[in-house]
């Protein structure tokens, strides 16, 4: 998809610096909604999970879900934020059909948490960098408007309020990002942390993770930020990057042509790869925030805060460091293996049982990942238990089977679900480590290849590999290759 407005030359583009901040909305994976007991299960029939509170019926009173606070606070602590002991809910007033009360319960001047940060990895010549997090606050989701798919969709919109009142946190970054790729890296890292914290399923297709971006450009020599443009609808990693690339180019081109930019809200249209302004009337918003009188201040005292802090799991960055220092994994391997919490748990279990983390990592990232990908399985549903991978690594380390045989045993274990040890024992597919047995095979090989034997004796040492290969072939892969090589040298050198 073309993201460029037109061909800006590289030198012109390099004269400007993009300034990007992200606002990320995260649906918390609580069982019930933020302020009522309705279920949050995704995909239920429309309006089947509603009650007077989330329908905004007169007189209904909200009661805060404790678990939503715990998940928000856990996120805040993991991102190094200051937790406010006394935070206040506020009404954010606007009219839209999927907001039945006419206001969203949110937090405004006293959010739950402030002043955190997140490290994004080094990329494209830039070192790893900390991106500031301005604030994290708790709020409720709106319902869902359906604009397509009905016979009279030309004239009507349809509203499903199942999502109304589902707990959200909004995580607002500082304008610290300087490139679309950095925005992508920030969102990936944030998603990974949220998954490890088990606060959200972060499913972008189902809308559990949503992203808006604020973007401006400034001349490299200008300390002032340019006019801030907000882009909405960035509901995939790809759209985020494409929309930012388009928008940065558009802003630079406007300025280069002598135009001016004004603060506005634009929508990203994935079909055209462009952003377009929202109609100006709908931008005339003024949310008239005021404290929510139906909810008391939220008090997270020291005891509660300590309880949340104690429940924090080991985060991906900490696991990566531990695996590198204690187990000798490479940074790359550690990064790959912390892709999801389930994958990290799988590796951790297998590595501990095998007592050989590096080789275990290779099997998991190689043979196992390839099979999961081929069958479209994720790490939550691995048919092979981690103990089987560990067993295979132990058998291999003990020299019972060769690497080549191990691949076949793995294949058998994957297909049948049986344990590698069982497979090896039953097939008798043990590695041949008895020198006498190797010699017996070698007799046949040497007799069958007199020319190569002669050439080897005359100094063509490269033929050693050929002869080892012939022993392996004759033993159907069961000979220990190191031993075969040693026996050939002993006999011919």
């Amino acid at each position: 998809m073309a993201s460029a407005v037109s061909g800006l030359d590289a030198a012109t583009r390099a004269g400007y610096e993009p300034v990007i901040g992200l606002e990320v909305h995260v649906q918390l994976n609580t069982r019930s909604k933020a302020f009522c007991g309705c279920s949050t299960t995704f995909g239920a029939p429309p309006n089947s999970q509603t009650c007077p509170v989330c329908l905004g019926l007169p007189g209904a009173m909200p009661v805060l879900n404790r678990e939503a606070v715990v998940k928000a606070a856990r996120t805040a602590l993991a991102l190094g934020c200051q937790l406010r002991e006394r935070s206040i809910f506020a009404r954010k007033n606007y009219f839209y059909p999927d907001l039945p009360k006419g206001y969203q319960i949110s937090q405004y001047d006293r959010p739950l948490a402030e002043e955190g940060g997140l490290e994004i990895p080094a990329a494209a010549g830039n070192p790893a960098r900390r991106i500031g997090i301005t604030r994290i606050h708790l709020e409720e989701d709106a319902g869902k408007s359906l604009h397509e798919g009905f016979a009279d969709s030309e004239r009507f919109s349809y509203v499903d309020l199942n999502r109304s009142g589902v707990p959200l946190i909004e995580i607002v970054s500082e304008p610290d990002l300087r490139a679309p790729a950095e925005a992508h890296a920030y969102l990936s890292r944030l998603k990974q942390i949220l998954l490890f914290l088990d606060v959200s399923d972060c499913n972008m297709e189902e809308g559990s993770l949503r992203c808006d971006a604020n973007v401006s450009v400034r001349r490299r020599d200008d300390p002032k930020f340019g006019a801030k443009i907000e882009i909405k609808n960035l509901n995939s990693f790809r759209y985020l990057q494409q929309a930012l690339e388009y928008e940065i180019e558009r802003q630079i081109e406007t300025l280069e042509n002598g135009g001016r930019l004004r603060q506005e809200t634009r929508l990203y249209d994935a079909a055209s790869g462009r952003t377009h302004p929202m109609r100006s009337k709908e931008q005339a918003h003024d949310y008239r925030y005021f404290p929510e009188p139906d909810l008391p201040p939220l008090i997270v005292d020291a005891a509660w805060r300590e309880e949340v802090a104690a429940s924090l799991p080991e985060l991906p960055a900490a696991r990566q460091r531990r695996w590198q220092s204690a187990w000798g994994l490479t940074a790359y391997d550690a990064e790959v293996l912390t892709g999801t919490p389930a994958q990290a748990e799988y590796f951790e279990a297998a590595a501990k049982a095998s007592e050989n983390p590096k080789v275990t990592a290779n099997w998991i990232m190689g043979e196992l990942s390839a099979r999961l990908n081929a069958q479209g399985l994720d790490w939550n549903r691995v048919p092979m238990p981690p103990g089987h991978v560990a067993e295979l690594v132990r058998i291999l380390d003990a020299g019972t089977i060769s690497g080549k045989m191990a691949k076949e045993v793995f294949e058998q274990a994957w297909k049948t679900g049986r344990s590698p040890r069982q497979i090896v024992e039953e097939s008798g597919a043990r590695q041949i480590t008895d020198p006498a047995a190797i010699d017996a095979i070698l007799d046949g090989v040497l007799a069958a290849h007199p020319t190569q034997v002669e050439q080897y004796k005359k100094g063509k040492v490269a033929l050693l590999a050929f002869l080892v290969g012939q022993v392996m072939k004759a033993s159907r892969g069961q000979a220990n290759p190191e031993l075969a090589q040693a026996r050939i040298k002993a006999r011919l050198d």
Binding site: P97, H147, E154
Partner: protein
């Protein structure tokens, strides 16, 4: 406390209200009176006092509830009061752009 006609128009727009000129003038008059009264209260020195965001007074604050689901109304009852519905949804005049996420 002076309220201009422009301010009234803006507030009416935010509240999605269409006011006839006479209504707007009456509203302007009422709002001026209300805000003048509040201006008197504003003269009180409240420095050092925690702003009251909730009428709970000194009573112990109610604790958040446990994360347990309860049956709701059901879609039929939820939609019973709606002026229009279809496909088990509330039905409204078509809206296109969305401001909030």
């Amino acid at each position: 406390m002076n309220i201009s006609r422009e301010q009234i128009d803006r507030i009416a727009e935010l509240a999605h209200l269409e006011l006839a000129p006479a209504e707007a003038e009456a509203m302007r008059h009422d709002l001026e009176a209300i805000l003048s009264y509040v201006a008197v209260l504003q003269q009180l020195d409240t420095s050092g006092l925690e702003p009251m965001s909730h009428p709970g007074g000194g009573a112990p604050l109610p604790l958040p509830r446990r994360d347990e689901t309860q049956p709701g109304l059901g879609a039929a009852a939820a939609l019973a009061g709606a002026p229009a519905s279809g496909g088990q949804c509330f039905k409204v005049p078509r809206v296109i752009e969305r401001l909030e996420s």
